[in-house]
Structures are given as C-alpha cells and as structure tokens.
Subunit: 303 residues, 2 copies
C-alpha cells in the first residue's frame, strides 16, 4: 500500500493507493502553517488513513508528498514554500523518521502531472498545465516525470508573449502567467465576488462585453501555454488542472475556441489539431496526492 | 563504416563515419533538383566517398540521409521538400535498392540536432536551433532524438511572441520566426549586399543606429527561442546552427547579450544562467551529415 499526501496552501489531501494504483481511501485536513505544523498534519493524515483502513499500524510501504515549493532533488529538502510558512525544511528526512518508512518529496505541480497522467489514462506523453495562482506545467513521458536540467521544465508561465503586456511577478513583461492564472484573473477582473473567475464566466455568458473580452484574453493565454507545450515538446495531450480548472467544461470550451481562433489563418497550426488534444482534469480529483504516491516509484522520474 | 548524406537546397554533403563515430572522409557536390537528380547525386556522393576510401565496392553497413522536408516515420518517404523539387518520393526505398544496404531518412533539422549533440560532446540533453530560412529546433536527450507525438517537437519558430508583429509564413502573427531567421533578416534588413546578415552585423558594429536596432531584434528573437526551449523542456544546453550561425562569435555574443537583457529584471530568469548554456556550432562543421549517419542507429530515436 502506498500513501500520497498533497500539502496545499489551505488543505492537506491524502490517499492510500493499492498495488494496482487504485485509490482505496482518501482523507483531507486543514494544512498547518509553519514547519512543525506541516509535519504534524502530514503525520495526522497518515494516522487517519491507517485507521480508516482498519489498521492499528501504518500499512504503507512507501510515502510520497507533494509540496508547493522548491524541492532539492535526491534529499527531499523543501525550500521557499511560502504558502506553507516554510523557508527551509528537511521534510523527507523528518517524515521518514516519524512514519518509519522511506518518504519521497516532490513539487506539487510535478506530482499533479504524474497523477493526471495516471488518472486520465494517458500512455505516451502529457503536459499538465496547472492554472493556480501562478501558471506552471509538468511533463510526463511514458509514465515518468520530465524534470529538465535545472528543474525548470514546464516553467512556461514565464515565457513572454506580449512586449506591451503587464509586468509579471517574475520581473519580465507580458509573460503567459499575466494572462492565464488566478493572479491574472484577479488583476484583469477586479470584483468583490467570492469566486472572481466564476463571476467572470457568468457575466461573459450573459453577454457582458467587458467580461467577454477578459475571458477571451484568459482563454488566449491558456491557448498560448498549450501551444508552447505542443510546439516545443509536442506531447500527445495537454491536461488542464489547478484552481481555475474547477470552472470545468466552461473553461475547456473557451480554451478550445481560443486554439481554434489561433489556427484560423494557419494551416500548419490547424494540422496539429490542438483543440482535440486538450483535456480537463475532472474537478475534485485527487491528482496531486495520487501523483505524490506514484512518485515514490523512482522509475517514475527521469533526468 | 556508416555513410551520412545531408541533401541541402544547394549542396549535398556526405561523410563516412568509422565505428567510433569519427569522420574519416567527407565530400560535397551540388544538389540536383527534382526526384531523379536528388537520388543520382546521393548515389554519386556514396561512390565518391567509397573511392576516396580506396574501396571499389561500398564499405557502408548503414546509410542515413537528411532532407529538408516532411519524412514519414518508419518508411523514409519524403514529402513537401520544396527546395529539392520533391513533392512525394520513397527516398529510403529507392536509395536502399541502389546502394544495396538499409537506408534511414531523417528530417534535416533533426539530423543536424543529432550531429551537433555528438560533435559538441553533449551527454545529457540539447536543443538545437536551426537558424535557416525559417526557424526550427531539434531536441536530443541522452543521444536520442525527441520527436514528439506528431513530429512537431521543436517547431517553436511558430510560437507567437508579439501580437503586433509581422505576419508569418505559417499564417499567424508575430511568430519567433518573423524575428530570428534568414527570411526575417531579408524582411527587416532589405539590402543588395550578397550576405544581408553579414552586412547587418558589419553596419551595427560600426554603430549605425538602424542596423543596431534590427540586429538587436534578431538577437532578441533568438533569445526568445532559447527561452522557449529552456522554460519548456529545460535542456542542458542550446546549440545554435543553420545558415545564420556562420556569423560565428558575432552572433553568439549578441544572443548572450539579449538573454542577459531579458534577465535584467528577473531574478528567476537570471538564476537559470541561460547565456552560459548557449553554444555555437562551429561554422563549416558537417553536423547534418554526421547526424544522418548516426540516425541509422534506431536507438538514436525515441517516441
């Protein structure tokens, strides 16, 4: 039995995977803030999962953890996980001692990419676009993560696509992230609505002109990210996940429309059939936790 | 002994490689136009190489050919090789019968990528940017070509980076190719000089303001292509080849400067140390012919 834990900024999501990779149990808890609380909550979800499975002791042969931060390859040391209140934490070592089993730590977007690949049944290559506060991608080939030379694979949110665009948090101008991310929605669609992206799509679907423009700009940004993946790595499919993917089919439809628009004057682009190669991660799916569990198999990563 | 033939728009370049991958002989001839002439010249360079090696019969166990066109995977059928006057030609089959040995046909940019990887001594991953009439890239990982799902890997010349840019031959607007290619130089720097790019760099180095602007735009375009490779696939190094790379260190220096400019306000980009990861293919090197010979090893390709 494998345990996968996704430690998010607000929730910690954990799953138990059987030998075939099937989710047999799932629990969620509020994430603790700061290094000690992060470790305690991770141990608590492990205890709860074991109890839910009817085991007095942990039945886990391997534990994988996904975190939103930089993870040192090999050691599982976590750095700059700002949302968790963690600046530098030997998370793999600490959890390994507490849980009595080997622990693998993985960046959360990479973990989600592995999980999406597994859950969507892709068998060749997949790019996973994480539309969260920021925009980043993970690439999985033949079931294994493609990390790149410096762990920067999939950082396509910071490819500039408009010299007259907005200043990006990274310091550049007009990055794809300034169009296609939660922070981009917050900037482009200031509102007191609790869910700004839902408000944006509601109003656009009611025909409000300004909302249609902003929604299209968002969709064009996601399409730019899809093209970056397809015209560089040429993955078989691109899966869209992250917070904004909770918009579901409404988002999927607009992204497909944006890809169609961009191919309207280009036979070359049209021949790649990009709209048909984009898939949506079903909202509510535990892809990051599942991927974290899968990342415990060292064969799942390359480079 | 392996034979590699690069059939270019004007010259056909051929090398004999020994078992260690070393070039032991090289010959060049003018390329013939049209299907029959293309096949005849390929056979002629094989004869000349055999003669230069002192062999009455062909000493080649395997033959690889690089062509500027679409190559059907598996069959080595060539389509849309406009510069060769070839619309549809079963090149691998025809040459195999004529030369009496298995023939592998590869797209020329992919062949050059393999050759650059080999000749520059890269051992992990490399993106090869071909600055020819157009702009395309090849990606090599652990000595094997990364083709992608539909043979579109490395087509990053057609990623748009400026909504107010020039119309691209592909039909889109503001593609990287409209900034960083021979056709981009022809459009941005109209001149009667025999070598427009050399004229451009000469004048820019003499301080002519308009030339400096156009040269910087070209270098910024190459930098955009480097970023696309680095922030998506995160290859270890990017090698710059193709016709414009004959500018040599003058080009290399400006591309490094452009990468430096783009990282000036971005600690994230600066941390990736892109300028130090760009290399120039030494002008005159037979990378495409060498790569074509290497492509005869089926282990050299993936996906």
């Amino acid at each position: 039995m494998r345990l996968g834990i996704d430690i998010g900024g607000t929730k910690t999501d954990a799953v138990a995977l059987d030998a075939t990779g099937r989710v047999v149990e799932r629990v969620r808890m509020a994430t603790g803030f700061g290094p000690d609380a992060v470790v305690e909550v991770a141990c608590a979800v492990a205890d709860r999962l074991a109890a839910a499975l009817g085991d007095a002791v942990h039945p886990f042969d391997a534990v994988g953890v996904g975190v939103p931060g930089l993870v040192e390859p090999g050691t599982g040391r976590v750095q700059h996980a700002v949302n968790l209140g963690v600046s530098d934490l030997p998370l793999a070592d600490l959890l390994s001692v507490r849980l009595g089993v080997a622990v693998t730590v993985e960046n959360d977007v990479n973990a989600a990419a592995l999980g999406a690949y597994h859950l969507l049944g892709e068998e060749r290559s997949m790019g996973f676009l994480n539309l969260g506060t920021g925009l980043a991608a993970g690439i999985v080939v033949g079931g294994r993560l493609w990390r790149g030379a410096r762990g920067a694979a999939g950082e396509l949110g910071h490819l500039p696509v408009d010299p007259r665009g907005a200043r990006c948090a990274c310091g550049q101008v007009g990055c794809i992230e300034t169009l296609a991310s939660g922070s981009a929605v917050a900037r482009m669609w200031p509102t007191s609505a609790e869910l700004p992206a839902v408000d944006l799509f509601d109003r656009a679907e009611r025909g409000e002109r300004e909302a249609v423009e902003v929604r299209d700009r968002l969709a064009d940004g996601v399409a730019a990210a899809v093209r970056a993946l397809m015209l560089t790595a040429d993955v078989d499919t691109v899966a869209i996940g992250g917070g904004l993917s909770n918009l579901g089919e409404r988002l999927h439809r607009e992204v497909a429309a944006a890809l169609q628009r961009s191919a309207a004057h280009s036979a070359f682009l049209a021949s790649l059939e990009l709209p048909t190669r984009v898939r949506l991660v079903p909202p509510g799916t535990a892809i990051a936790a599942v991927g974290a569990a899968l990342a415990t198999d060292t064969e799942e990563t390359v480079h």
